[in-house]
């Protein structure tokens, strides 16, 4: 199962396209390296031309213009075009053989995640768990403005556009947690709209899905009071917790909120302290979010609520 201790917060390279852990990212990195080296070589050659032209008054030659300006670029561009189209077909093709589908819907400023829509349709949020080495069809939608789904370590980005459905296939090649972030400017808290993609071995993934299908764990003790607060304070108007309050879709599904590694769409470490801070002070932590700050909750209620939410895994 996913372990929340190893969140990507503060991990060097967690969002770097230069350290690929997916097929798309690896293919793009190959192109990147080739083009960077080639580009650097061309740059040096052109600058050498400038230097020589400056030093020696040989007079201009028409073949410089035709050779350097027409023939050479055409040859290089043709090669590049072939390579790049090849990679594109490899990356973008193969949608048919993806057995698993995950639907992600962008909201200001969080991600609604549905595993196997049409089939099981299990809802979660702000974390995308997928099996290693298996192509996964990612279906991308938006319910408000344009967002863009990007996990640089796994694959290139794809926009989420209201009124449209975009599809891409991603294959993680390594197990681990990779940071993703919204790449299309989407408003006030655009910088705070991140998530984590968690690649796990296929059998772990099956266990995860089974686990996720069930209702939220019931608890006793002071945390049980938190469940009452959740219902009394009206949280259920927007948030669903399977087995406690179902159906609401305005906010992230909280059935396993305590099991996520980060809070606030990949932004803060998940623990009771930050949960309590979040509930009391959302608008300060995430300006423009649709959830109001619940600063009026009493200290004990707030603690109980945070405790209860933290126990939902």
């Amino acid at each position: 199962m996913t372990d929340r201790a190893d969140s990507t917060l503060g991990v060097f390279g967690a969002q770097s396209s230069l350290l690929p852990a997916g097929e798309g990212a690896a293919a793009a990195l190959g192109l990147t390296n080739a083009m960077t080296l080639g580009g650097a070589a061309i740059f040096v050659i052109v600058m050498a031309f400038v230097w020589l032209a400056w030093r020696r008054q040989t007079g201009g030659r028409t073949w410089w213009i035709l050779g350097g300006g027409v023939v050479f670029p055409l040859v290089v561009l043709a090669l590049l075009f072939v390579a790049s189209t090849g990679v594109l077909r490899a990356v973008a093709g193969g949608r048919e053989d993806a057995a698993l589908t995950i639907e992600v819907t962008g909201h200001q400023f969080w991600w609604d995640v549905v595993y196997d829509p049409g089939g099981l349709a299990i809802r979660d949020a702000n974390e995308v768990v997928m099996p290693v080495g298996v192509p996964v069809r990612i279906v991308l939608k938006s319910e408000d403005v344009i967002h863009s789904f990007w996990v640089p370590k796994v694959a290139g980005k794809m926009d989420m556009i209201p009124g449209r459905v975009n599809e891409t296939v991603m294959t993680a090649t390594e197990a681990g947690r990779f940071r993703g972030q919204c790449a299309e400017f989407c408003g006030l808290s655009h910088p705070l709209m991140a998530f984590e993609m968690v690649a796990v071995p296929p059998d772990h993934f099956r266990a995860f899905l089974e686990d996720l299908q069930g209702d939220a764990a019931d608890v006793a003790g002071p945390a049980a009071r938190g469940r009452e607060v959740f219902l009394e304070a009206g949280c259920a108007a927007c948030h669903a917790v399977r087995g406690v309050a179902e159906g609401a879709r305005l906010g992230p599904d909280l059935t396993r909120v305590g099991g996520r590694a980060a809070l606030g769409a990949g932004m803060w470490p998940m623990n009771e302290g930050s949960l309590a801070g979040w509930i009391a002070d959302v608008q300060d932590m995430k300006p423009g979010a649709n959830m109001p700050s619940y600063a009026h909750l009493s200290g004990p209620d707030l603690r109980a609520l945070a405790q209860w939410l933290g126990s939902l895994r």
Binding site: V50, L74, L80
Partner: protein, 841 residues
């Protein structure tokens, strides 16, 4: 100095006198004091554009420093998100719309007449009007800060983020209205530059003998005329959606947010080349001066610039690779995007070949040219990388793109521009800027620039997206951002030092004398500072490098150089106007003296736009009417067409020719080009929605067939009438041409009425396609209203004797306009008919 030619003192054919009793110098004197602002001459207007543009550059630069300061450490709280979003939005907006295009336009306005051998632009008032629109548009946009409503949706204003629902404040309105206003300025300036370059050159300056800068500006102007309309239309539609609720981009009613992106980038990508071309033209002009040899490969460069103009309109979608376009589109746009490397390469290698022609002088402008080569070539190479789709999907909207675009725009435009300031400052002020400080400016800017932006390539590859106010600590972006911020301060220090040097040189810089750089082009003909009239007599030009190849231009005092139009016949400002291709003089163009009409015309529009923002619609309408009234006054002036005057070199030329080569006709054709582009943008929108959202196209009620056929018939009749009217106007049948003006007005009104009738059943509020249909017909209606007004105006002028019998230039021009209008009306009716015939509810 006194007018010596006795011929000019004799009255000919009873033409009106301009300002009798004034000498040539006095007639060209800039007005002083407050009346300076009524000056419309290209020197005044060009300087205004340049100074205002530079002010916007400084403001936008300060905003950039705020951005960099916010990003200096992770999780910074220097600016809150809202302010940060406003700051980066305004940084991009000011740089792209209120700095880059206007300041380059300003240089063109200032330099083109001097380089081409004209005393002024051929439509000085149009340039002045453009400036005021630009200034007022800029003020409207900047005033949003005062109302705490600065736009914060990015310079690209993507919808639905910029729609009422997600941006309920006035921010997007300020942006859409202010920018559209400023764009009208750019388009006006562009049309004016096209006419000036084609119609007002020195005798003998054929197109192939034009200085290379004029070619660059000609293509620049054509690209603005065609490239800005998509955004103007896009913005008007978005504003209409916000104000009236027409669902152009609303996915719930069959609109498409991507339609905005298509229209925006149809403008936005050519925009990049629009910014690059004049700057490259500056390089191509300065470089030969310092090498001491002509530009190598002039013909190749001209061909490259023209092909760049065309290619740049075919690759807008590479800004949209991540939006889910089909693979075939991705592949095609990727190929088209890389193709632009060819004309760019041709220009770069032509510059390099020029360097090899002789030992170059390492002056300050030359530093900036070398800096341009270094930075721009790098930016071009990363541009080719971005054209590769799989790479683009990683790099898009990351700091890699931020790095790339600044390499291209700062390298391709700002560095040449600063070189140009050092190079042409003596023209503006008569003094030289400092060679020592200039080197400091260059090295500070060059070092600071590369430190800031070279690292950003890596920051982007490490996954940092653009437009984020804060970033988390420790994932690999901290140190890179710190260094980038430090670099930006160094860059800013360079700019600051430049400002200091500029202010300093105006008082203590050494006097420039005559042709201080040893340049080859005509703007350096006179001792500096340049006289207001540019040329006492306009010399004949036989070479592309007249100051190098024509000794008669340099072996005597400037005012003694032989040429046409010495002195002033009829005590009026005038210049020689030529055949667009050969450069042979065909007419004498009368130029306006200082006047307030452009100011008031723009002021009326400013009131109209400002009131629109404040939702005072009646005031808005009043401002618009006031503006139209001022335009009518502007155009009313009695015509001198038909008067014959000697040109001073043995020819007798007509004043204000009525002919298709006449400048007034060329400007009508330029205007039609803009209108066609506007109309085509609407048609594109309609066809796009019809094709992309077919379900809603089915739901859209069909227009009525019969009135559409009537409209098509009326439009055809208008085209025939236009053709006949043009012939009659040329054959000088004055009465008949007046009647044709009336008939044109009638047919235009008829066409519009029929189109309006046809779309009555279609609701503009139910589907986006219906809204586009209404917008298109409204557009044709507005153009028809203009035709009606124009026809009545011509009739009134004929009846009051304001036009000379036998000279029907005004009727000729209206007839051309009517033909263009007929083509647009016909296309509209035809497409609506096709839509009406394809089923539907």
């Amino acid at each position: 100095m006194a007018v010596t030619d006795p011929e000019t003192r004799t009255p000919y054919g009873g033409a009106r006198k301009g300002e009798p009793g004034k000498t040539f110098d006095e007639i060209w004197q800039q007005p002083r004091g407050l009346r300076y602002w009524s000056a419309v001459s290209h020197q005044a207007v060009g300087k205004r554009f340049i100074v205002t543009g530079f002010c916007f550059f400084l403001i936008a630069g300060v905003l950039a420093l705020l951005v960099r300061t916010q990003l200096i450490v992770p999780g910074n709280t220097f600016l809150d998100s809202e302010t940060y979003n406003q700051v980066f939005t305004m940084h991009g907006t000011l740089m792209m719309f209120l700095f880059a295009i206007p300041i380059l336009g300003g240089f063109a306005v200032y330099l083109i007449p001097m380089m081409l051998g004209a005393r002024d632009l051929i439509f000085p008032r149009l340039g002045a009007f453009g400036y005021w629109c630009y200034l007022f548009g800029g003020i409207i946009l900047m005033s949003s800060f005062l109302f705490d409503a600065a736009p914060d949706g990015g310079w690209f204003m993507y919808t639905p983020l910029s729609s009422n629902e997600y941006s309920p404040g006035a921010g997007p309105d300020f942006w859409l209205i202010g920018i559209t206003f400023a764009e009208i300025a750019s388009v006006a300036t562009a049309v004016e530059l096209i006419a000036a370059i084609l119609c007002a050159r020195a005798p003998g300056m054929s197109l192939t003998k034009m200085p290379i800068f004029a070619w660059y500006i000609l293509i620049f102007a054509f690209m603005i005329a065609v490239g800005f309309p998509p955004l103007i239309i896009g913005s008007i539609l978005l504003e209409a959606q916000r104000l009236l609720g027409l669902p152009f981009y609303d996915a719930a009613l069959g609109g498409d947010p991507l339609l905005w992106q298509h229209l925006f980038w149809l403008f936005g990508h050519p925009e990049v080349y629009i910014i690059f071309l004049p700057a490259a033209g500056m390089v191509a002009t300065m470089l030969p001066t310092f090498v001491g040899k002509p530009l190598f490969g002039y013909g190749f460069v001209v061909a490259a610039v023209i092909s760049m103009g065309f290619i740049s309109f075919g690759l807008w979608a590479h800004h949209m690779f991540a939006t889910g376009l089909p693979i075939l589109s991705l592949t095609l746009f990727s190929a088209a995007s890389t193709m632009v490397a060819v004309p760019t390469g041709v220009q770069i290698f032509s510059f390099i070949a020029t360097l090899a022609e002789a030992r170059p002088r390492l002056t300050v402008p030359m530093h900036f040219i070398l800096g341009f080569l270094f930075i721009f070539v790098l930016g071009g190479l990363t541009g080719v990388m971005l054209a590769s789709v799989p790479f683009n999907l990683q790099a898009h909207d990351s700091y890699f793109v931020v790095a790339h675009l600044h390499y291209v725009l700062i390298g391709g435009m700002v560095f040449p521009l600063f070189g140009a300031f050092y190079y042409w400052a003596p023209l503006f002020t008569g003094r030289m800027m400092s060679e020592v400080l200039g080197r400091w400016v260059f090295w500070l800017m060059f070092t600071g620039f590369n430190l800031t932006f070279l690292l950003m390539h890596l920051t982007g590859m490490r996954g940092m997206p653009r437009r984020i106010a804060t970033y988390p600590e420790g994932i690999g972006w901290d140190r890179l951002n710190l260094l980038s911020t430090l670099g930006s301060y160094i860059l800013a220090a360079g700019v600051l030092l430049f400002v200091v040097d500029f202010i300093r040189h105006r008082r203590v810089g050494p006097h420039a004398g005559r042709n201080p750089w040893g340049a080859a082009t005509l703007e350096w003909l006179y001792p500096l500072p340049n006289p207001n009239f540019n040329f006492h007599a306009i010399p004949a030009v036989r070479s592309r490098e007249p100051l190098w190849d024509q000794p008669e231009l340099t072996d005597r005092r400037a005012e003694r150089i032989d040429g046409v139009l010495r002195g002033t016949a009829d005590s009026r400002r005038e210049t020689i106007s030529c055949d667009p291709i050969t450069g042979e003089p065909i007419q004498i163009a009368r130029l306006p003296h200082p006047t307030w009409t452009p100011f008031f015309a723009a002021l009326g529009l400013a009131v109209a736009f400002g009131a629109l923002l404040a939702s005072f619609y009646w005031i808005s309408l009043a401002g618009l009417c006031f503006s139209v009234l001022v335009f009518l006054l502007w155009a009313w002036e009695p015509s001198d067409a038909g008067v014959l005057r000697p040109d001073g070199m043995g020819r007798t030329l007509p004043v204000d020719l009525a002919d298709r080569r006449s400048h007034t006709h060329v400007v009508v054709v330029g205007l039609l080009l803009v209108l066609f582009a506007l109309h085509a943008s609407l048609i594109f929108g309609g066809l796009y929605l019809w094709n992309v959202v077919p379900d809603f196209a089915e739901l859209t009620v069909r227009p009525l067939g019969l009135p559409l056929i009537l409209a098509a018939g009326a439009a055809l009749a208008m085209a025939v009438a236009g053709t006949v009217a043009r012939r009659w106007a040329l054959s000088e049948r004055i009465g008949a041409s007046g009647a044709m003006s009336g008939l044109t007005a009638l047919l235009a009104a008829g066409t519009t009425a029929a189109l309006g009738w046809a779309i009555l059943p279609v609701s503009p509020f139910d589907t986006a396609l219906g809204a586009v249909i209404w917008a298109t017909v409204t557009f044709v209606a507005v153009l028809s209203a203009a035709a009606v007004l124009w026809g009545l105006f011509n009739l009134a002028r004929d009846l009051t004797g304001a036009t000379r019998p036998g000279q029907a230039r005004h009727a000729f021009n209206l007839a051309t306009y009517a033909k263009g209008l007929a083509a647009m009306a016909l296309a509209t009716a035809g497409l609506l008919l096709a839509f009406a015939l394809t089923g539907g509810a």
